[in-house]
Symmetry: C2
Subunit: 200 residues, 2 copies
């Protein structure tokens, strides 16, 4: 196996171990020592791939975002070459909610990362840039859907984008078992149905 690929694979293995630590024990336990133990490799080996805990966290979060994007792309194949923006948004939103094990792992990583960002300037910049980028993708979909007459022209694209992203606020209700996953999906669908209700 080429060295470059092996390097990337080892970093991903460590990132997945970090996700499991975050998911099962919380980010307070995501030290190089505990992650190495979870990955079944030596402390020194982790340090070979990541100079600092912060570098490891940043990579693990970027990898979580990539994996989420990959799941979205996989789900969208069923909708053909040009998915309806409602289907696109539904897949994006549901993959951001902790509705199945992979999504739960990345969702918990993401929630912990936001809190970590509040006390670490570098992570703050990375987290803000990542969220800004994701927000822009959603706003682009909303703007195109308005231009295509699928969302009413009276809707403000920035506000609709913020309301769509706010749906991730269902996460604590799902995680703590206050509502069933089915109820969360009903809420997402209800919101999308109204957003696209003016479709020509």
């Amino acid at each position: 196996m080429p060295k470059q690929v092996d390097h990337r694979e080892r970093r991903e293995t460590i990132a997945r171990a970090l996700w499991r630590v975050v998911e099962q024990r919380g980010i307070a336990h995501a030290s190089v020592r505990e992650v190495a133990q979870e990955a079944g490799i030596s402390h020194g080996a982790v340090q070979h791939y990541f100079a600092t805990r912060e570098e490891m966290l940043v990579f693990a979060m970027d990898f979580a975002s990539e994996q989420t994007a990959g799941r979205v792309a996989d789900s969208l194949r069923a909708f053909g070459d040009r998915p309806h923006p409602r289907d696109l948004l539904r897949v994006m939103l549901t993959e951001m909610l902790p509705l199945h094990p992979d999504a739960r792992a990345t969702s918990r990583m993401s929630a912990a990362y936001v809190l970590e960002a509040l006390h670490d300037a570098n992570i703050h910049t990375r987290a803000r840039d990542g969220l800004t980028h994701g927000r822009e993708l959603v706003e682009q979909i909303v703007r195109q859907a308005i231009a295509d007459g699928r969302i009413g022209a009276d809707r403000d694209p920035a506000t609709e984008t913020n309301l769509l992203l706010a749906l991730t606020g269902l996460t604590p209700l799902i995680e703590l078992g206050v509502i069933e996953p089915e109820a969360a999906l009903t809420a997402v669908d209800q919101h999308l149905e109204r957003l696209f209700s003016g479709e020509a």
Copy 2:
């Protein structure tokens, strides 16, 4: 001062110190030792008021919820004896978002508490019960507003309640500076305006 009152006051002082630790350094630092230091009292004094870190966390969260409820009640005075449910919901939602220092402290405490609940069975039960109770209060307001003809009779109260609570999902966008507080308020108002659009 009666002993009972003094006891309560000391616990609140410790709880506020814990909030500051959580807000400024993260819940990983919310140990009895660091909280005692932040409160400017001895480790032993904290242990006199709280037998365990968990007991201290649970009290600090309950106190945060009470303080949020108090801020809501204060804001509602301006709306007279029978506030319009739209105003009631707006005040509840905006006090749950990190839009001013007090609300930010309780919002960060709450976010950290949810993550802590995922790895602590006792905190999980407490957090779930607290969120279930808050959700029921909102659903009661929605049901009454439907009964009073202020929200359309075609709206499902459970789904509308979940969509209202989902608006707390604006929190990471505000905390990371991805959107301005003003944009969050616009999104909340837009959602409320549509919810009450069928008002008779």
